[in-house]
């Protein structure tokens, strides 16, 4: 009979059926967003969302109400076993893999992920950072709720941005160290130890601000800023450029759009898998914070009080950054959240079963 093997590695696992054709379903817990689409999609009922709901709600005891949570408004990653697959029921059909919005479940056939096989559908999603427009400001890296973006940048040398002359007359210098203490660029090192006094100025660090010259009690420092005196004609603008590139870890990216939203240079383009709406019923919300914790997009947050007596919403929902995955609606103990999916962008497929499964995601 059918016998699958399951290999568990921490919270990740692989379900494998070895035959001439090797089918392997791989689950990565750190990528999973706990949305539950796989659970509702699996045609044989082999998947369950595990203890995402109960455990996340149990965590609610930790915070009692607003204030603790507000202090840590941005969600703390919920480290739970999010999905379990019963290997005795699983037939390795790949439906969970095809419908998983983040590639946490991936079916490979003979080592090839089904997203790369034409016969299987996948979502039309992407996150692109245009290197030509990118200013390498790292705003997206800081905003990304999944730490999926790394901006690697190489700063220009300070010495290429300013020019000038600086000299210290060591005969006159009394090694008082005042210049060293005031130097904003930490370019001056003074050793005041009796008998071995010294002063060293690092010209690679000096920005010719002339603070040392002005403060020196014995006028031992001679300095001039050439950039100030003669303009910047002898500086090469090429050398002043910040170089680098943006790296997106595709597996972690959930296409929430924070990077696109915060980018000051319009360098980011994000395509989400679903269109729809996210609505929080403020009257039903019990402010437990389970949704705030679980939301992979930081699209749900507690508002911050504007002062005593101000009346606020219980939870604020930002549709702009929501991917309509539905994790919050699943987890909410008060059924206060409604996520509606109105359109799904996936590659075309002939199979009626697959199309029905995609249609079932709409509501």
């Amino acid at each position: 009979m059918i016998k699958n093997t399951k290999e568990i590695k921490g919270k990740d696992f692989d379900v494998t059926r070895s035959a001439d054709e090797v089918r392997n379903l791989s689950f990565k817990n750190h990528i999973c967003i706990g949305c539950g689409i796989c659970e509702s999609t699996c045609p044989v009922g082999a998947i369950d969302l595990g203890d995402v709901a109960t455990n996340a709600r149990a965590k609610v005891d930790v915070y009692f109400s607003g204030h603790d949570k507000i202090a840590q408004n941005i969600n703390e990653p919920v480290d739970l076993q999010k999905v379990n697959v019963n290997e005795d029921k699983c037939v390795l059909c790949g439906m969970c893999s095809g419908l998983c919005p983040v590639d946490a479940l991936v079916l490979t056939i003979d080592g090839v992920p089904i997203a790369e096989i034409d016969e299987y559908p996948s979502y039309n999603v992407y996150t692109i950072i245009d290197d030509d427009k990118c200013l390498l400001c790292q705003k997206c890296q800081n905003a990304c709720p999944r730490e999926a973006i790394t901006i690697k940048r190489q700063l220009p040398n300070r010495v290429d941005l300013v020019t000038g002359e600086i000299e210290v007359n060591e005969e006159e210098c009394i090694n008082c160290g005042v210049c060293s203490e005031l130097c904003p660029a930490e370019a001056i090192v003074v050793d005041p130890t009796t008998g071995q006094e010294s002063i060293v100025i690092d010209k690679d660090k000096c920005v010719y601000c002339l603070v040392c010259k002005k403060v020196c009690p014995v006028n031992a420092i001679k300095a001039v800023c050439r950039s100030c005196s003669y303009g910047e004609y002898d500086l090469d603008p090429e050398l002043a450029k910040v170089k680098g590139s943006a790296i997106i870890e595709d597996a972690l990216c959930v296409r929430c759009g924070w990077c696109e939203g915060v980018c000051p240079a319009d360098a980011v383009e994000v395509k989400k898998p679903f269109e729809g709406t996210l609505v929080v019923d403020q009257d039903k919300c019990g402010t437990c914070g389970a949704c705030v914790d679980l939301c992979p997009c930081n699209a749900l947050a507690f508002p911050i009080s504007e002062g005593p007596g101000s009346r606020m919403e219980h939870v604020i929902a930002s549709e702009e950054y929501c991917i309509k995955c539905g994790a919050c609606a699943n987890i909410c103990p008060n059924e206060a959240i409604t996520v509606t999916r109105t359109a799904i962008d996936n590659t075309p497929i002939n199979s009626i079963t697959w199309n029905k499964a995609f249609d079932a995601l709409k509501n």
């Binding site: 059918i2 070895s18 054709e21 037939v91 439906m95 096989i117 079963t353």
Partner: protein
């Protein structure tokens, strides 16, 4: 009774091919979807979809129907 398939529903998972006891007796080494080497078996997955090759050999046990996740193969 007759063994029927609906390729529109099929996910190509190949569970029926493995589960079928007739297949197992004809081609024990080949159980497992696309890779079967002989068309002597009752059914196989071809190009990602289930296809009947020798439905006359079917013993009508219903095992395939039981395992199929999407009603792509059944006895009628």
């Amino acid at each position: 009774m007759e063994l029927k398939v609906n390729q529109d529903n099929c996910l190509g998972c190949g569970v029926c091919v493995i589960a079928c006891p007739v297949n197992a007796s004809i081609s024990p080494e080949n159980a497992g979807g696309n890779g079967a080497k002989t068309t002597e078996v009752v059914m196989m997955v071809e190009n990602g979809f289930i296809k009947l090759f020798s439905p006359d050999k079917c013993e009508e046990c219903g095992t395939c129907q039981m395992f199929c996740p999407v009603e792509a193969i059944w006895l009628e």
